[in-house]
Symmetry: C2
Subunit: 327 residues, 2 copies
């Protein structure tokens, strides 16, 4: 238990990964109002949109407009996602986003083949090209990452050695360009992780890269999201991606149940109760979860927005005890 | 991690605690078919009904009939709940239930007062009377327990010392009657527990009562159910109550969010992936979760019934890799 971090950084992904898979339509007004509400919760990083082909992902056609219209809170890093140089150019042109790169490799060749007609070799070559681009464009590369790190619906279990090998390769690639990313991100893209798998994987990576920060991107596909986050915290993980309400999912998972990123307010609730700082106001975050549930128009799986912040119940209990004592 | 149990016993509560709070109507036929399906999953204990006043809990008016009509699997212990001697007489009269008693005290006086117009003192006196009854009726007392052990919506946090004191008192009471219960049950009646609270509480109790089995009754009110179960497993907890689909809740919690016991199939999924035996067939359990969702007629929170058993995806991935190799 002594490895719990003192502070956890959460990157809120509902406006990007969440809205991206919603049928919608979600108006730009709604998106901007939602991102602005998130900006007032104390969150330090918010993913706001993807700069992708609007014909393929019409939900993100208004990415540029969103960036122009949000009210920037100077304490917040706003991020976007791009998949090619055109997207990167659009992201930079907004002038409001925190532009930084990552080297993210995919641990499942079956997934690469199926969704990108790619292979490990091609994935590596493509990543090397992207790194050259980052360098040429003077874009910092803060993170290396492995997608589908715990398992894949098309390939099955992913051996730990493969994940380690990909991390090693990503660092070699970065260092060849004089870069030294400080963060290692593990993505449980299809919700295969369980707490013991998290412990083993994070433990091994931490031993190999003791000076790096480890981040987890978790899905709740099989109900393990919060338990996996807890297992990560036990191993000192101090950075999580999450979505308010438990919005999100992977459109390419080939499984009806690829639902839901780990729920931000449930995670913050647990961190609060553990005495781990996040800088986030849980009540404001719950209000954002209620807001996003109204925006998407269907119930979302997060529980704390229904069960409530225990601090409010503690206050009520204290007031009630005082009233009884005074009576 | 070395404290993980090798085998976990799960008591399935959906037919009792689950159906009890559903608006219904749920027919006796549906209940019997559901219990019979549960009996074929490998579950070793199934709570089938409550023998309570049908005017107060009309959902359980058919308790006696259910017991007569279920197809008994000799590998399963069928249990019922009663709150007074009349209920106990009805339970015994069925001739099919495993009749055993427990001494369960409530850790929140505010809850006792509000819901039973009771007090700690009265709760103890009442329990002593019940123990006398058990002895007079030659009913084994296998368990002592504490309800609202982690917190109460009306009283706030529950000090650990109070829980320990109540457990001590329950054992004193049992031993005065020559009884030696082997199990200590902790009930997170209103979903206040978090993984660290579980670790602290279970750790302390285990130190005090190293020879007893510790059981957890968890709710998912704030999304912590599976994480709490995991924290319990880390401390060697080997017995859980759970509801397929995540059905259930506490009708007296005074909070709209008092929803859902920890979900049986999500728990069994995690245990399978950890290599901990349960004797339960996950696919059959998922079928029961789908069945109960249809019976109650609204979506239930369990995730594995949507996300799917990973063993099936592993098989599919293997078959697909073999087909590709053969092509």
């Amino acid at each position: 238990m002594s490895d719990f971090p003192k502070f956890v950084n959460i990157k809120e992904e509902a406006a990007r990964e969440g809205f991206q898979i919603e049928k919608g339509p979600i108006s730009t007004d709604q998106k901007v109002a939602f991102i602005d509400a998130l900006s007032e919760t104390g969150l330090k990083a918010i993913a706001v949109c993807s700069f992708v082909n609007p014909k393929v992902v019409p939900q993100m056609a208004d990415a540029d407009e969103i960036c122009q219209r949000i009210t920037r809170n100077p304490g917040v890093k706003y991020t976007g996602v791009w998949l090619n140089e055109k997207g990167l150019d659009r992201a930079r042109a907004t002038g409001v986003l925190d532009i930084s790169g990552s080297i993210t490799l995919t641990a499942s060749e079956a997934f690469l083949k199926r969704n990108q007609n790619s292979s490990f070799e091609h994935n590596l070559a493509e990543s090397a090209r992207i790194v050259q681009n980052f360098v040429a464009n003077k874009i910092p590369v803060n993170s290396v990452g492995v997608a589908s790190a715990f398992g894949c619906n098309f390939e099955g279990d992913i051996p730990q050695e493969r994940v380690l090998d990909l991390i090693d390769k990503a660092f070699v690639m970065a260092r060849e360009s004089g870069l030294e990313p400080q963060r290692i991100g593990l993505l449980d893209t299809m919700g295969w992780a369980t707490p013991v798998a998290i412990r083993k994987m994070v433990g091994t990576i931490r031993n190999r890269y003791p000076d790096k920060t480890i981040g987890l991107h978790l899905h709740d596909t099989r109900g393990m999201g919060i338990a996996n986050a807890y297992a990560g915290l036990e191993m000192g993980v101090s950075q999580f991606d999450a979505c308010v309400g438990g919005l999100g999912g992977c459109p390419f998972a080939g499984n009806k149940g690829a639902a839901g990123n780990v729920c931000t307010e449930d995670l913050v609730f647990m961190l609060n109760e553990m005495g781990i700082e996040t800088g986030i106001d849980l009540d404001k975050l719950i209000a954002c979860a209620e807001m996003v549930e109204e925006i998407v128009g269907h119930p979302l799986p997060g529980q704390v927005k229904i069960g409530g912040n225990l601090d409010r119940l503690r206050e009520r209990a204290r007031a009630s005890a005082q009233a009884a004592a005074a009576a």
